[in-house]
Amino acid sequence: MDRSDIAKLAHLARIEISDATVDDVARSITDVLKLVDQLQSADTQGIAPMAHPLDAVQRLRADQVTEADVREAYQAIAPATEDGLYLVPKVID
């Protein structure tokens, strides 16, 4: 992992990483990747990936409206709203 790899990852994750810390971040992520590379030693030929400990499947329910309208309560804690909409900086000129 070098500075440019971290810059690319940070962009994908939409996280600002300051210039002052990028070398430390690169070094520690390299250490973590070395740890996880131990996985390559395992023989996993023919082993199905495991997503749920009990191999559960998605529970289905009837297609009915069950949620109440709680927009006001949810927007009361938002950084910026107007007329029931969340406000962000202008994205289209």
Binding site: L9, I29, V36, P53, P89
Partner: protein
């Protein structure tokens, strides 16, 4: 009153030895006087606690008292509490006041428990020392130069310092059991899916599970009875019949088959910790259990598999914190991308950022098969190790942590050294099994925990085994020095 267990408090309240308001005031007074030494609480909800206590007293007087009526508890600050700030130990959620309660919080309200406050934790439950909290580290009541463990370090320190008789907690890779070990408590992580995750702020959704930290196994059984429920709102919650975990506490252990995994007693284990654990297992033999050595051959791969799966899931889960709908937003964003990047850059601490980046890498184009898919395959091998073991034994026993509590800063800035702290606990989460830690002695005047792992939905058996041990030993009654 703070010396009493939850079982004793329930009796005392029903016998009118004291009222819930008296009991709650007593705990609030202790928190106000003593918690500056431990930093276990992030928020003390004095007003709510006293209202809930008064309501509980009315129900007790009317003879209409549910299971935990009037008993004060603390909630880990990962559980959403309506109208009460829920920070998850992060600057990102320093201003987050949830508009709803987590299901488990509702369950405790239904059963009459009183909320003393919200307790400290590693940021977004990512850590094994409580050093990553935005609100500062929690100190171990047994030695305030040492960590209480993590991520449920606030829950553990509060109970160990008798600032709450019990606390809720959560465990993704050991976050209940390791603090239980380091603070001399009983802590149980139930089977994955046994307890609702709704309203528990998500870290790694296929591993996260709520549980409790208490002083005794009997108290853990009482608290877990209230916590467990089937919940439609959590699609991974399992619709299995509920058990009364107190019902089988007194069953004898004659014939119990214990397996000791050879991989849990190898290099890296503190020799004195090993001695305490061996002595504890010998105690079970006296109670009629048989012990055999077993093998969990893929144990060494559990930490590497976890550090792909947990970061991958965390990178997806934490993408919701974008500065738009709630949580931290940076000042004067120049455009939407700047808003996302600076809000997240400012709101998350170092360890959280590191895990998001690792997870982003593991899931990025071209790497998915080599990392995520491979880790999910290894996860099945780890589960199969346990399936094979439980064909021969009833419970697996070993150490919870490699050593007693370590000093602040002693793992340096090497994240991998900290990750290896959970080497004995992580496999249980990957397999989705229930696990419990109980105190089994002291090393250097600091507690050591015995870990007991059971088969799926064997929580009642684990609590029975722990309770029987606590009937013939007094390690769970030891109190940290200096606790009034």
């Amino acid at each position: 009153m703070h010396k009493l267990t939850i079982a004793e408090l329930i009796q005392g309240l029903r016998n009118k030895d004291f009222s819930s308001v008296e009991l709650t005031r007593h705990y609030l007074d202790r928190i106000n006087r003593l918690d500056a030494s431990y930093n276990s609480y992030v928020t003390v909800t004095e007003e709510i606690a006293l209202q809930q206590a008064a309501a509980a007293d009315a129900r007790l007087a009317a003879g209409d008292a549910p299971a935990l009526c009037g008993v004060p508890i603390a909630h880990k600050d990962i559980f959403c509490t309506e109208g009460v700030r829920t920070s998850c130990g992060s600057k990102m959620l320093d201003n987050f006041v949830p508009p709803y309660n987590a299901t488990i919080v509702e369950n405790y309200l239904r059963d009459g428990a009183v909320m003393l406050g919200k307790v400290n934790m590693d940021e977004f439950a990512m850590g094994s020392s409580n050093e990553t909290s935005y609100y500062g580290p929690v100190k171990n009541p047994w030695d305030t130069n040492c960590v209480p463990g993590g991520s449920s370090g606030g829950s553990a320190a509060a109970v160990a310092a008798h600032l709450a008789p019990g606390a809720t907690a959560s465990d993704t890779g050991g976050s209940i059991r390791q603090p239980a070990s380091l603070c001399g408590l009983t802590g149980i992580k139930p089977t994955y899916g046994r307890v609702s995750r709704w309203g528990m702020i998500a870290f790694a959704s296929s591993l996260d599970q709520a549980g409790v930290l208490t002083r005794t196994a009997e108290d853990a059984a009482i608290m877990l009875n209230s916590m467990t429920s089937f919940d439609d709102k959590d699609s991974t919650c399992v619709d299995e019949p509920l058990s009364d975990y107190t019902a089988s506490l007194n069953e004898p252990l004659k014939g119990l088959r214990i397996g000791m995994p050879e991989q849990y007693f190898g290099e890296g284990l503190n020799p004195e910790t090993s001695d305490r654990v061996h002595a504890a297992i010998a105690e079970f033999e006296k109670l009629g259990a048989t012990v055999k050595s077993i093998s969990l051959p893929h144990s060494a791969l559990s930490v590497p598999a976890y550090y792909v799966i947990a970061p991958a899931e965390c990178s997806a889960n934490l993408s919701r914190f974008d500065g738009v709908r709630y949580g931290h937003r940076c000042d004067n964003p120049k455009d939407l991308e700047d808003l996302y990047k600076r809000s997240r850059g400012e709101g998350f601490g170092e360890e959280v950022k590191r895990r998001i980046l690792v997870g982003t890498y593991a899931l990025s184009a071209g790497y998915y098969d080599a990392y995520y898919r491979k880790a999910q395959q290894v996860r099945r091998l780890i589960k199969q190790d346990f399936v094979d073991a439980f064909a021969e034994v009833d419970v697996v026993m070993g150490p919870t942590a490699t050593s007693p509590a370590f000093a602040f800063g002693s793992k340096g800035d090497d994240p991998v050294a900290m990750y290896l702290e959970d080497i004995y606990t992580i496999a249980t989460n990957l397999a989705g099994l229930p696990g419990l830690s109980i105190p089994c002695g002291l090393v250097d005047n600091k507690p050591v925990g015995l870990q007991i792992i059971g088969n799926y939905f064997s929580e009642a058996k684990l609590l029975n085994v722990a309770h029987q041990f606590q009937q013939v030993t007094d390690f769970h009654q030891l109190t940290a020095p200096g606790i009034e």
